[in-house]
């Protein structure tokens, strides 16, 4: 579930042979017309000239990409230097998404393992409990987190009343708050694929390792982790990719210092910047980054299937 894929395995059933093209046509019309085509137009837009207050002039230019990568001074005629502002925003986004992914893995792996080793209906109840928060509105979850970690929020109040701290810990508008928000947003994405691969793990392998005097840690490192690696990679990607382009967590939990790609893009369309070609260019760069990650993943998967 949740971002996973259902593989089409029994391709042999052909009750409706010959109708395949017609049955898939609506999918093509909807996704092709309202997603594939728009992404194509967005690519064209990223090469157009900006018009002030949104919109574009149909003049072909590299200006948007130039603005992203190069600094040509105030009047645009200095020798080109590398512009670090936007690269830094990307780097920060990658960093924040990476930290969130690691935290999700630390909490998610033991959870997935624990659930996968339950039996019968117990297992599906645990799994269901993990899934529910994912379906709760992301906006509401982010607002809840914002409320919880405010300077005068319940967490600080509680810690102070317990005497753990004397001054409220300032968490909101920090990098930590954004990482926490991303972690909280996508934690179920980590648990589900790892759960699926642990469920398929053959415990006879653990027994064999134990019979050969492997310690539990050695078994975990040398037998279990390599076997469930595809699930771990899938989980990491399902957390990392949406975190990279996240908007709500950095916008509501972060401040100016935690500006991420999502906010940069939003500002070009809804905010004050109003530079559509630049927004389109940033979106294209983000999309390329995501496609690189996904291609790497697909390669790994096909390698794992062959090996």
């Amino acid at each position: 579930m949740a971002g996973g894929m259902v593989k089409s395995e029994n391709t042999n059933t052909s009750t409706y042979a010959g109708l395949g093209g017609w049955l898939i046509l609506p999918t093509w019309l909807v996704i092709g017309f309202f997603l594939l085509l728009p992404v194509g137009i967005m690519l064209i837009y990223s090469f157009l000239t900006k018009e002030f207050r949104g919109g574009v002039i149909w003049d072909f230019t590299f200006a948007a990409y130039d603005q992203f990568f190069f600094d040509r001074g105030l009047f645009g005629d200095d020798p080109a230097k590398i512009e670090w502002t936007y690269i830094k925003i990307f780097w920060r986004s990658i960093w924040q998404a990476g930290i969130a992914t690691i935290f999700c893995l630390i909490i998610g792996f033991p959870t997935a393992w624990f659930i996968a080793t339950r039996t019968g209906s117990n297992r599906s109840i645990w799994l269901f409990l993990i899934t529910i928060p994912y379906w709760v509105n992301l906006l509401i979850r982010t607002i809840s987190m914002k409320f919880l970690i405010r300077d005068t929020g319940p967490l600080n109040e509680w810690l102070m009343s317990m005497g753990v701290i004397s001054e409220p810990i300032h968490m909101i508008n920090t990098n930590f708050a954004v990482q926490l928000g991303l972690f909280y947003s996508y934690l179920p994405f980590m648990v589900l694929p790892i759960y699926a691969s642990v469920e398929r793990y053959n415990f006879a392998l653990s027994e064999a390792a134990a019979d050969l005097y492997a310690s539990r840690l050695t078994t975990l490192r040398q037998i279990i982790l390599p076997t469930v690696k595809p699930g771990i990679i899938a989980g990491c990607i399902l957390v990392f990719v949406p975190s990279l382009g996240a908007f709500l967590a950095p916008d509501l939990l972060g401040g100016a210092k935690t500006f991420m790609i999502g906010s940069l893009i939003e500002e070009q369309f809804k905010g004050n910047a109003g530079n559509w070609p630049f927004g389109a260019a940033v979106s294209m760069i983000l999309l390329s980054l995501v496609l690189i990650v996904l291609t790497y993943y697909a390669r790994q998967q096909s390698k794992a299937e062959q090996g």
């Binding site: 059933t13 998610g108 080793t117 027994e207 999502g262």
Partner: protein, 269 residues
């Protein structure tokens, strides 16, 4: 046997699982508790009351939220209906129609909305509607929602269809049923739990969407999440807690329904 069980267990994994559940639920439960707070401030606890729920339904901003809720509901029902229909047809094509041209690329296409980052989809859709000169409003929101609902509706439908052998339809065909009859009278009833489950998931996904809606909604048109976001930008007020709790409960009820329907189907099999 004892040894086998032992190998499945790692010290500390149970506490980690509890920690995971705690982290997932604590913020939501705290917001639910504070939604019953009888105080004007969101920090001070002033006893239990329903005043903020009253405020949501009859207060100053009630009209705004009511209209937004109606918009959200219309869009979610329409988007879920259309995307479930499309996804059912797609699943039949992918799992029941043998080989056809462009099959593997079609599979990638169905999952495309899950691959493209939401904000990129939002930007692309906005630019697209602007280029073809389509006025943004409820229709544009609906179109965008149908797109990203398709893969979510597809997952449970395809999973269900995979579990149904095609012998029943073949038997029907042998008895001179047309293929349409075989589909309508055999396959569709058998996979009904998958279809209902898909519809419910698509409904929640549409109801929950903020980013894409925020981009393609026209000026003045709000759905519940965009209205809540707008209000939160002014600061979290107690009525936001109440409305969040309500929306949270709607999601939980629908997911539970979807889960139960899916299981009901499995037991029958």
């Amino acid at each position: 046997m004892a040894k086998k069980l032992d190998l499945r267990r790692f010290p500390g994994f149970l506490p980690m699982t509890w920690l995971c559940l705690f982290l997932l639920y604590a913020p939501l439960i705290i917001v639910m508790i504070y939604s019953f707070n009888d105080s004007n401030s969101i920090t001070q606890w002033g006893g239990v009351s329903l005043r903020w729920y009253k405020d949501v339904f009859w207060g100053l901003e009630a009209e705004k939220f009511k209209l937004a809720a109606i918009h959200s509901l219309i869009i979610a029902v329409a988007a879920a209906t259309v995307s479930t229909t499309i996804a059912t047809m797609a699943a039949t094509a992918m799992l029941r129609a043998g080989r056809f041209r462009g099959k593997s690329i079609s599979f990638a296409l169905i999952n495309l909305p899950l691959m493209v980052p939401e904000i990129v989809t939002a930007v692309a859709t906005l630019i697209f509607f602007s280029t073809i000169g389509f006025t943004t409003g409820l229709t544009t929101i609906l179109m965008a929602h149908i797109v990203f609902c398709v893969p979510f509706a597809y997952l449970p439908i395809a999973a269900r269809m995979q579990g149904i052998e095609d012998v029943y339809e073949q038997a029907a065909l042998d008895l001179y049923a047309t293929r349409y009859q075989a589909f309508r009278l055999i396959l569709l009833p058998l996979m009904a739990p998958g279809v209902i489950s898909g519809f419910l998931l698509a409904f929640i996904i549409s109801l929950d969407d903020f980013i894409i809606t925020n981009f393609v909604k026209g000026a003045g048109i709000e759905t519940l999440p965009t209205a809540i976001f707008g209000a939160v930008k002014q600061g979290i007020k107690p009525n936001i807690m109440a409305i969040s709790t309500l929306l949270l409960l709607v999601s939980v009820v629908f997911v539970t329904l979807s889960y139960l329907v899916g299981r009901m189907g499995q037991n029958k099999k």
